[in-house]
Each structure stands twice: as C-alpha cells, then as structure tokens.
Amino acid sequence: MGIKVIEEKCIGCGLCVKVCPFAVIRIENKKAIIDEAGCNLCGACVTACKKFQAIEIKREEQTPQTKDLSAYSGIWVFAEHRDGKIQNVTYELLGEAQLLAKDLNCEIAAVLLGDSGIEKETENLFAHGAQKVYLVCDPELKDYRTAPYTRVITGLIDKYKPEIMLIGATTTGRDLAARMAIRINCGLTADCTGLAIDPERKILLQTRPAFGGNIMATIISPNHRPQMATVRPKVFRKSKIQNPKSQIIRENPNIQTEDLLVKLIEIVKDESAKVNLQDAEIIVSGGRGIGDPKNFAIIEELAKVLGGAVGASRATVDAGWISAHHQVGQTGKTVAPKLYVACGISGKIQHLVGMQGADTIIAINKDPDAPIFKVATYGIVGDVLEIVPLLIRKIQEVRG
C-alpha cells in the first residue's frame, strides 16, 4: 500500500492525528501509526508533517500509462442547454478554458448536441471563445438524456481525442460526466472550484472542496485522457473573446436503440422558483431565524423591492417552509450574486460554501457570534422581523 510513516523522522507530535479527516492515525510509543484500511491517501497528514517529512505516500503502484497520451490535445467544453438556450456555466467554462489554453498552447472546442434547432446556438459559443464546435443534431438529442448523450460524446472523444474535458457541475453535467468517465476509462474530479495547468508536467490541477467545504483538495489524473472535471457554476468568469477562425464540425449521431430506454414524460415547473437563482444578481435568503413560514412574505418583499430572487437555508427547506429549489449551499445551489442578504441564517459551512462568492453580503442575525458574520461585508446584529421591514421602507424611499 501507499502510505508509510518513516519512524526515524517521526517525533510523535500528533499533528497528523489532528488533521486526518478519517481519524485513522494514532500515536503509540511516540510514533504515528496509520490504520491503512481506513486511509484514503488524501495526503492531509503529509502536508501537516511538512516540517519533519515523516509520512510518505508512494504512488508508483498506480497503473502505468498504457495509452499514448501525446495523441490527445485541446480543451473541450460540454455545451449544456435547457429549452434550447445554452446555460451560463458553459460560457464560464469557455472563459476558464482560455486561461488554461494559454499554458497548453492548444485549441478550445465546444461540444453541442441537440435537435436541428440548436445549431443557431453555435454563434453564442463562438462569441464566448470556442474555436470549434462539434455539432451533433438528432431529434433524440433535443433534451438531455443520459444514454444517448453519453454514447455520442464518448464517440467524439474516441475520434478526436481531447486532452481535457470540462463539464458544468449541474444536475445534468454530473449525471453525464460520471457515466462517461467509466465508459472511456478516465479519471473525473467532481465540482471543481479551481483549475490550473502544472507548469512542468503540463497536466490539469483540479481543486475542489471536500468534507462539506471544510478542506480543499487538489486532484490530478496524470495517466488517463481526457482529464475530466465537472466545474461548479458561478466560479469562473465568462469571456468575450470572439475567435475569427471559428469552425463547425458536424458529426452523425451513433445512437443505438438501447440508448432510448429511458423516456421523458413530463416537466414539472416549480412556480415558486420562477426566478433562476443561479443567475440572479441579487438574492435575499431566509433561514430558520425568520421564525415562521409566513415570514417568507417579508423576505419575498425585500427581494421584490431589490429586484432579486428568494433563497433559503436548508433548515427552512427541511421544515417545509419553502421548496427545495430555493436552497443555497452544499446540497443546494451555488450562487454568486452582486448582493446576498442572509436573514436569520446561522452560516454553517454547508450554507457558506454556496454563497460566499457573492460580491457583497449583508447578514442579519440576532446572535453576534453567528458564523455568517465571518463572511458578511455588512453585519447587522438584530431581529430580522424588525430590520427587514425597515430595509424595505428605506429602499423604497431611496428609489423614490
């Protein structure tokens, strides 16, 4: 196995014990002992032991590269769309791809699947930095479904061999990427919030939160191609680089009847979630501190005067005060609006990871020690039911 304590170097300080996310390290006779069965080789202890360098992870056991990796080049972005419209995360990925492509000196392509109506969207992909669009049109590809999409995209990958494949970490992107990674035998890093190219090895460094946002991990897939990652929406910036020599490459779908077993029957719209939370510029969120479901009315009113959308903490969703489509956080949505107003939300890490990317955060909470104040631009210690109506009135005044 891969992890080893170098006894001569270990002084039994216990730093590794404290950082182990799995609690599998203990100190016995002044030496660290790692219970290998529970260890997942995350490397937190190696980092903690920087000073003594007494813990070593050996990775040479890993399957050596069998593919000719040099045959793979270029960055591909999956063009996700809903109701015929490309989702913003696609443009964000194309924006980030510009930066990565500089270091790799490679091409950026988007992969667009849909019915024939989707072709017009190629313009938008070019306008956001795609140099090529691989376009596959078929009535069966109109809406996303796992099997036909997996079939078509993995087919394209086999044929054209991209080096990196980026997919939005949306419900659709996660459903697709996970299936693709197994089919084409590739590593897949979920829900990345940071991407970079290792200057020496020229491989993709994929950084993501783990343990509910408590730690960050950097992950690589050095021996497999493409290097695949799903990327959290609202983390990267779109770019407006129009590429002059844009090119559409049309491919035929190779869908099989066995790919069409799952049938879409109906879309159930959530009327209360009409506003797209992920794209909203202003969000006002309510937490358990609003005290009663009917108080969401004042949260909605504040959102309305600000021209924003309504968000919620999980505690309110769990209590049935509001539908789950409004939930912000680790198991809800990640948002990055210009303004986020947290009303009666304690600010547990699972909530913070979903909203701390907002430009300006206003937090209203009775408890001066609430963790939400650690990320707030403006903290107000007070009763939401008193403050929010005052805010509404004041904004109306200012607006005239």
């Binding site: 196995m1 014990v17 609690a23 290998e36 069965a37 529970g38 997942n40 080789l41 995350c42 980092t47 990775r59 890993q62 399957t63 796992t146 997996t150 419900t171 996660r174 459903d175 990427a177 996970a178 197994i182 590593g187 979920a190 460094l205 343990f211 509910g212 946002g213 408590n214 730690i215 960050m216 991990a217 950097t218 077993l261 799952v262 049938k263 879409l264 029957i265 109906e266 159930v268 939370l277 600000l306 789950a324 489509h325 198991t331 949505k333 210009k338 890490i349 699972q350 206003i362 104040f373 650690k374 990320v375 403006y378 107000i380 210690v381 007070g382 403050i387 005052l390 004041k394 200012v398």
Partner: protein
Amino acid sequence: MDIIVCIKQVPDTTEVKINPETNTLVREGVPSIVNPFDENAIEAALALKEQHGGKVTVITMGPPQAKEALKQAVAMGADEVYLVSDRAFAGSDTWATSYTLAQAIKKIGKYDLILCGKQAIDGDTAQVGPGIAEWLNIPQATFAVKIEVADNKAKVERMLEEENEIVEIPLPAVITVVKQINEPRMPSLKGMMKAKKSEIPTLSLADINGDPEKAGLKGSPTQVVKIFSPPAKGGGEMLTGEPADIAAGVVAKIKERKII
C-alpha cells in the same frame, strides 16, 4: 422485488471544526454516520418492499468499522447486508469504488433496482451511482424525489435546478435519491436486537472476482496531490446603533456600491 442499496459510512461533516489558530481540520471526536442521503435510499427501498414485496439488501464498501453502518441498516429493516472490504480497496476513487460495488452486486446476484444516495457528504461527488450503472450496463435516474414502480418499470421524478422532470425507466436500473424523497424511519427495537446479534458477511476482492488492476489505489485514475484549508475569509463591518439608522446606513452603502 429485489433491491440493493449502496451506503457509505462518512464522518459527520457538520461536526468537523476548523481550529481557528492553525486553520486546520479538527477531526478528533467527530462521529461516523451513515451518509444522510443513503438513509433516504434505505427508506425508499423499505417502502418499495412494503408495497411490492421482495428483499432489501444493503451493501457498503469500506474498512471493518463500516459494519456499524450496516448494523444501522439492519435495525431499520434491511433483510441482508454485506461488507465489501479488503486491503486492496484502500485508496479507491469513484472509478474504482463503482467498479468494486458493481462487482459485489454481480456476486450478490439478482436485483430489480439499485438505490444510492445522491452523493456522499465527505466527497460530494455524486459519481458512484452513475458509475455503478455504467459498469452494470443498465439505465440510471439520478436525483430522484419520487419513485413509483409498476410493470417492471419505474416512474421517477428527478429534482433539477429549476424544475423537476418525470422519466420512465425500465428495470433493472440505478436510481439515486435526494433528501426530499422521504423521512428515514427510526430503527425499531426489534430491529436493534436483530442488528446486535447479526453476523455481517464480508466480501473480499477474491470473493467478488475483482480485478486487482481495477480496484483500490491501483485502479484509481485520480490522485489527490494536496489537501489544504480553504483561505479564511475575514469578516466585514459590523453595523451598530438604532435599527432605523442601521437600515439607512446599509441602504446608503449598497447605493454607494451601485447595487441599487
């Protein structure tokens, strides 16, 4: 109807704390729990069994202490459980984990439905469920809030970002569930007695006819190269005084910032 539920034992991440001085993770004393979404998967399986009859088998891949998670499943009402455990599985990423679980499922045999949680709260990848489906070459429906089974098909309501979508999926299939699907039951007294007495069978790499090249660290395409604490965010300005003045102050500030 035979249902296999995949569950994972995870550290309770709500209990994980950051040491403010060293900015490192304090994991000491953090309890291990059954991944919350997997409890929903167990509940969904038990509810389907109550409607349609059959058997609920719960499996987990993990170290020997993951038996505790399986005992909880027995206490809730699972008929059979298996611990998939071998030194060779250590260091598995989602690729190797889904391979291993799929091998174990093939070994266990007949199934109409495989249920997973939407994601495990330690890694939050949501990749293992679809991975299993691919290894077994069966369809998948992820993020289910409602499952109805009839005529060897499932009608699944999937929770997406802004809306829900209802799909019809032939069985056998893999379905992953979100929290909103149900309220997991508490273990019954009888169940707890049964759990206490139950022997938990263990399946090794050899037992599941696993390929050592595909399992554990060796079979994992991804490698973790660095773990670090997220940069601490400094708090901003606290506004104090009379509520009316505070409100006026904040509104002035967001106006200054051209938000309104």
